[in-house]
């Protein structure tokens, strides 16, 4: 094989190459995002206000947290279909723990909140260990494993709650972690937690052996094995991290509504995968960065808020989201071709 000849279009190497490299690295998303904002702004000027921008940031932060969770398993060529229902199950269970300790805020509130949050995280770890062990050590397809886990978590969520929302959570949860709270007087809690999760994820992915290994394993599992990496353990860890971050997302959502919701989770799987993949995380594994998740989450949020503001029918919105997922995968292929 001879050395690959570089693309040399007529415009000259400078501008064109730089443009292509930009698309290759970040995808078409930044451009689409700006275009969408301008488009919605033209139809509904309210869209382009500071107030709305903050709203978008807040809405997006929930999704970005879940998309970041999803990214850890997407990197290893897996995915987590159980994520949405796990959110429901965790929401219900941690709500019940909090209500049991301090019903309507009557009792040791701090203990109730800590116990609720710890329960949520513990449940996340358990779900992740189960998913991860089955996928990594028993070589069962993640589709089957996480679909099964979805059934289990759904059963738990509806059985323990009897199918009804759990009321009576101490209001402090909402003031501390809900949308109306403000850390240091200005920072919206969901945005703050989201940034925290993104920061930690960034460090794990770029600065630890585990993160590096996830990329290598996702890009070529056999090569990782031949290179002596503990690939099974690392794949399992990706599911644990995924479910742990999902648990954080579940706490945020419980705080948002102030209730344990047994049925919020359903659509979150599609949304989280859509956001990650639209952002540029590859379904073929081994590729994807934190910035991709952020942009993908923003895209989906901008779309859904924009469509609400311009009064597009809710069911039609589903159609648009579905198209976004498929288009994103298509563009991903295109991006790859540009790169070569």
């Amino acid at each position: 094989m001879t050395e690959r000849t570089a693309l040399r279009p007529a415009i000259g190497p400078g501008a064109w190459t730089r443009l292509l490299r930009f698309f290759a690295n970040y995808g078409f998303l930044p451009v689409i995002l700006v275009a969408l904002c301008l488009g919605f702004g033209a139809v509904e000027p309210v869209f382009l206000t500071v107030q709305n921008a903050l709203n978008i940031a807040e809405q997006a932060s929930y999704l970005i947290v879940l998309a970041a969770a999803q990214m850890f398993v997407l990197l290893t060529r897996g995915f987590d279909l159980s994520m949405g229902v796990i959110v429901s199950a965790i929401s219900v269970i941690s709500a019940m723990v909090m209500v049991a300790i301090a019903p309507e805020g009557q009792g040791p509130v701090l203990l109730a909140l800590s116990a609720g949050i710890l329960t949520a995280l513990a449940f996340g770890v358990i779900a992740g260990v189960v998913n991860g062990t089955l996928v990594a050590f028993f070589d069962i397809n993640p589709f089957v494993v996480t679909l099964g886990m979805q059934g289990i978590a759904f059963g738990i969520a509806t059985t323990v709650s009897g199918g009804f929302p759990v009321f009576g959570i101490p209001a402090e949860l909402t003031t501390f972690l809900g949308q109306d709270g403000a850390w240091f007087g200005f920072l919206s809690p969901p945005v703050a937690v989201c940034l925290l999760i993104l920061g930690v994820s960034y460090i794990i992915l770029n600065h630890t052996v585990l993160g590096r290994s996830l990329y290598l394993v996702g890009s070529n599992t056999r090569a990782a094995e031949v290179g002596g990496l503990p690939w099974r353990r690392h794949i399992m860890m990706s599911y644990v991290l995924c479910s742990l971050i999902t648990a954080v997302g579940a706490i945020l959502m419980t705080a948002r509504t102030g209730t344990g919701e047994p049925s919020t989770g359903g659509g979150l799987v599609l949304l989280s995968i859509a956001a990650a993949v639209a952002g540029g995380v590859s379904l073929r594994g081994g590729e994807g960065r934190i910035i991709h998740v952020v942009m993908g989450g923003l895209l989906v949020s901008v779309l859904s808020i924009g469509m609400n503001l311009t009064r597009i029918d809710g069911f039609l919105q589903q159609v648009v989201l579905g198209i976004i997922v498929i288009a994103a995968v298509f563009l991903d292929r295109l991006r790859l071709r540009i790169r070569s």
Binding site: M1, T2, V226, G228
Partner: protein
């Protein structure tokens, strides 16, 4: 007669036009000029050998001949008529039949079904099985191939599949037969039979394009030899008038000395030893094998003889059933890539794309892939990125990687550079035993020479080196000792000057383990 010729009757007297006349053939794949200005003629009754290394363009050229690829420049004439838009089907119709190395057989169908696949004989829209069966029986009898016509292809050995392919090609009237390394999986007896068939076809005026890099076959069969290198034609020579050395030098594009460095072997203590090693899949049987510090040991053998599996078993990639693996005198109980790397043994897989590299990741990450447990690159779970980048740059400079960019994604590198990136893991950490599995497959000559140089360096610096290769000259010119493997057994051990191409080839079909070490009988093929 199944391969009687109704069309051609050149008895070598009348000046028939060449069967195939190619001038200035060009073929471009994305990013690669696979064929550049190739001229090639094939006369009736001629065996024209295509000679060259992997990736030289031989396969592309025969694919153009057979209509699988379309050339994008030059002209291709068949019996004096220009061919355009040739499809594989059309090629077969006009009498150009290829037998590729990748078999075109449907594995769930039987031999007879395969032979007529796509050209079934029908009577009134219904398959005429009786007629097809009779014709299959006839062609197999003519060829004296011992094949069960009703057996499913998936149950056949590689050699039997190869014979089925040949029978398939000869089922119809042919004028050009293209054989792509046909003997790579045939036994001596089957090879002999194939050569008789070729002689027979020659007499009938069939032209034969024969791809091979085995000297003995070229000497025996070839009328003319065309040597290809890096997609270009180096030259076409009369086989009778050219020496072996000359051919190899044409192929590699440089003198022997420049290609194969002189390695000063200084065999020291035994670093790696296997005793009666048998793998669970049965591909390696009772292998007794040693390699000492400071020497290069070659392992040669046919595809599927178990030479690769031996190394993989040692590295923990193939399950061991019985026998012992001793590394520096210590028995290894549970070999795994992680533990073997930890003890200083590294295996470099032959399929670097499938098993060696994370293609979507940059050069730097691939270079340190097997060293992520060393304090050099990692401190309590965290990567030492700056240090890693520095080390990557050093390794890139040492290996002469082009372009010297540690952040380049590996998938965009050429075959040779990919190989260098994989070999970097032997530099990134301390390795005392190197197991190279087909270290130069599919890479260009320059990169090959550099890899041989690297092998020389590590061997002379005291490491034990094993080179497993299907390129015979690699084993011949690099090894201090060489083993030949056949049917899962190490059948002979050759030393020093005993290591010749003929000696190695003569043991390719031995079935007895090497009880006595001795000189192979050269020239038995």
């Amino acid at each position: 007669m199944p391969f009687a010729l109704h069309l051609v009757s050149s008895h070598g007297i009348a000046p028939a036009p060449p069967l195939i006349e190619m001038t200035g053939i060009q073929k471009r794949f994305p990013g690669v000029l696979a064929l550049d200005q190739i001229d090639f003629t094939l006369n009736p009754g001629e065996v024209h050998v295509l000679f060259g290394e992997n990736g030289a363009g031989k396969s592309t050229l025969i694919n153009v001949m057979a209509g699988t690829h379309h050339h994008d420049g030059g002209t291709y004439a068949y019996c004096g008529q220009a061919l355009t838009d040739l499809s594989p089907h059309r090629a077969r119709e006009i009498g150009i039949c290829p037998v590729f190395q990748e078999f075109s057989l449907a594995s769930d169908l039987t031999i007879e079904e395969n032979l007529f696949l796509g050209r079934e004989i029908c009577r009134g829209g219904i398959l005429d099985k009786a007629e097809m069966r009779a014709r299959v029986a006839r062609v197999l009898a003519d060829l004296r191939f011992d094949l069960p016509p009703r057996a499913k292809v998936s149950t056949l050995s590689r050699a039997e599949q190869q014979m089925t392919e040949i029978a398939k090609a000869l089922l119809q009237d042919i004028r050009v037969l293209i054989l792509d390394e046909p003997t790579a999986s045939l036994s001596e007896r089957e090879t002999e039979r194939l050569f008789e068939i070729i002689a027979d076809l020659k007499r009938k005026g069939v032209g034969i394009v024969y791809v091979s890099h085995r000297m003995v076959e070229i000497k025996r069969l070839a009328d003319r030899v065309t040597v290809l290198r890096d997609g270009r034609r180096v030259g076409t020579v009369e086989a009778a008038a050219v020496s072996e050395t000359k051919l190899i030098e044409m192929m590699i594009g440089r003198s022997f000395g420049a290609m194969f460095p002189d390695i000063a072997h200084r065999p020291g203590r035994v670093m790696l030893e296997t005793r009666g090693l048998t793998t669970a899949d049965g591909l390696v049987r009772e292998a007794d094998f040693t390699v000492q510090a400071g020497e290069v040991v070659g392992i040669a053998g046919l595809v599927g003889c178990g030479k690769s599996e031996l190394a993989r078993a040692i590295f923990g990639l193939n399950e061991v059933q019985s026998g012992a693996i001793m590394l520096e005198g210590q028995q290894v109980t549970q070999p795994s890539p992680a533990t073997m790397l930890q003890s200083g043994l590294c295996y470099f897989p032959s399929d670097r794309v499938a098993e060696g590299l994370a293609l979507a990741r940059p050069v730097r990450e691939n270079m340190t892939l097997a060293a992520l447990n060393l304090p050099d690159f990692v401190k309590s779970g965290f990567l030492r990125l700056r240090r890693e980048k520095d080390r990557a740059r050093e390794m890139i400079a040492k290996l002469g990687l082009a372009p010297p960019d540690p952040e380049k994604r590996v998938e965009f590198l050429s075959g040779g550079n990919k190989q260098k990136v994989m070999l970097a893991r032997g530099i990134a950490r301390e390795v005392k035993v190197y197991l190279f599995d087909e270290p130069t497959v599919g890479i260009d000559v320059g990169a090959k020479a550099e890899i041989y140089k690297l092998i020389k360096e590590v061997a002379e610096s005291g490491a034990a080196v094993v080179v497993i290769s299907s390129e015979l000259h690699e084993v011949v010119y690099l090894s201090n000792r060489a083993y030949v493997m056949s049917g899962g057994r190490l059948v002979v051990e050759l030393r020093g000057l005993e290591i010749t191409e003929a000696a190695i080839l003569s043991h390719f079909f031995d079935r007895k383990p090497a009880t006595t070490v001795g000189v192979g009988a050269p020239g038995t093929i």
